[in-house]
Amino acid sequence: MDDLLSADLAAIDTALVECGAQRGEGPQNEICYDLPRENLIEAARALVAADVHHLTTITGQRLPQGVSLMYHFYGGCGITLRLLLPMDDLSVPSLTPIMLVANWYEREVHEMLGVTIEGRGEIKPLLLPDDWQGPPPLLNEEENA
């Protein structure tokens, strides 16, 4: 587990750029990369190969231009992979086959923002009641659109 804390940032940067990711302006304290969702699995594999296994969480939020998903990794410092999903196609490939820890975070993103997680079949609710009928609670279109 020690290797998790001494990840080689330059090597990670090269690997992520090769996966089609671009350094972007992200949250303070994080090194942030923007990438198309098609490249998410490849980028996550590159991080795992560089001994950055620790996915802290996935932050999803409604922005005027769509839904943003941030995959917050930790390898001695915060490394974030950021996707922007258009409102007419809220879907993203599942990371659970690569890292088990993504399982519950993907369930939360699915129920709170209505994002379809490809390759997982039916997803059971995590926090919301089984008989929840309303729209995804964090997809508040009137407030953010």
Binding site: M1, D2, L5, P27, Q28, H53, T59
Partner: protein, 360 residues
């Protein structure tokens, strides 16, 4: 043989918080488990988008009734970074003092819950009795046993007087004396060892894959401790060890936590000896400049993560909270698989769960 399903919860005598566990057993052996959480989901992330920053300090304090100080500290650190506020050193020390006292009482609470689950009621009684010493200290300092409301954006709203310092020193001496009993019990009691050794073993590889954090992960050899790797407050000035174990079983988790209490006490003494003079609060603006920030701290159960985005108003546009219990809960089916039904309670209690934290 067709597996038998045993539903436990959501209300059950083992934990005071609601959690539904569907065990699949064959004879006395657990084959697997399905979990259902969300019974105390309060929608705190959504609520936070409808409250001002000042109100949110008190809202996030109510995510958890055990590590409330960790939540307010993380939220305030996030907002202060966005607003560019330099918090006085004395306030950082007082925050750190409360965080470490919280770690001590959280670990003792856990030891009590585990002891009760394995039928060692005496230790449960003693652990919870002595936890009161720490809770009394926190009440004396802040006015609250559980929700301290001590941290505010820009500093803390309490200050330590010489009387407080004397009270803390005297009570800690009494507490340290009591700790010997727990250390002796974990290290030498045959019954405690028989019920916890080689139980609920979590290897380093599984810790990696499940993203476990905190003392549960450190008992399996992981060295991740945010206080060391990404120091916040004034932890870089403190001399303490990151405690790790190798066994990864329930006994090792108990041993790790007790050793962490010793380290926390070391930090508390250093704080009291080196408490800087000066202000404890600077004025904070109601409106926070637009931007986004992430903050990680080491809560009693491990890495606590906040993401805060400001749109320049007095209300956050998004607050995301990831508590350390969430990955621990997700690991529970792996921990339970293969154990005997008589040990299920010890494994669940040994995981150190905080359901309110996970549900938010």
């Amino acid at each position: 043989m067709t597996p038998t399903r045993i539903p436990i919860g959501p209300q059950h005598p083992l934990l005071k918080e609601p959690l539904s566990i569907n065990l699949s057993v064959s004879g006395e052996t657990v084959l697997g488990a399905d979990l259902r959480i969300g019974y105390v989901h309060r929608g705190i992330e959504k609520l936070a988008q409808q409250r001002t920053y000042i109100q949110n300090v008190h809202l996030v304090e109510r995510v958890c009734g055990i590590c409330s100080q960790a939540h307010t500290t993380t939220f305030c650190l996030s907002v202060e970074k966005l607003a560019g506020i330099e918090v006085p050193r004395r306030a950082q020390y007082i925050r750190m003092l409360l965080c470490e006292l919280e770690r001590i009482h959280s670990h003792l609470l856990w030891l009590g819950v585990l002891s009760e689950a394995i039928g060692f009621t005496t230790i449960f009684m003693y652990a919870w009795r002595d936890r009161e010493i720490i809770l009394d200290l926190m009440e004396d300092l802040s006015g609250g046993r559980v929700s301290h409301s001590a941290t505010s954006i820009g500093g803390v709203r309490i200050d330590l007087t010489p009387d407080h310092e004397r009270y803390v020193q005297t009570n800690l001496a009494e507490f340290e004396e009591q700790l010997k009993l727990f250390r002796d019990m974990v290290l030498h009691d045959r019954n405690f060892q028989a019920r916890t050794r080689r139980l609920g073993v979590m290897g380093g590889d599984l810790v990696h894959r499940l993203g476990l954090v905190g003392p549960t992960a450190r008992a399996s050899g992981c060295t991740l401790d945010i206080r060391k790797q990404q120091p916040y407050l004034a932890y870089e000035e403190m001399d303490f060890q990151v405690i790790t174990g190798t066994g990864g079983d329930v006994w090792c988790r108990a041993h790790t936590r007790l050793a962490e209490i010793d380290e926390s006490l070391k930090i508390v003494h250093q704080i009291l000896d080196g408490l800087p003079e000066g202000e404890v609060q600077v004025r904070a603006p109601r409106r926070v400049p637009a931007g986004e920030v992430t903050t990680r701290i080491e809560a009693p159960r491990g890495e606590l993560f906040y993401y805060v985005r400001s749109d320049g108003s007095d209300t956050p546009a998004r607050v995301k909270v990831r508590t350390p219990t969430l990955p621990t809960l997700a690991s529970l089916p792996h921990l339970l698989s293969g154990v005997q039904t008589a040990d299920v309670a010890a494994v669940i209690a040994g995981a150190d769960l905080c359901i309110a934290c996970a549900d938010r």
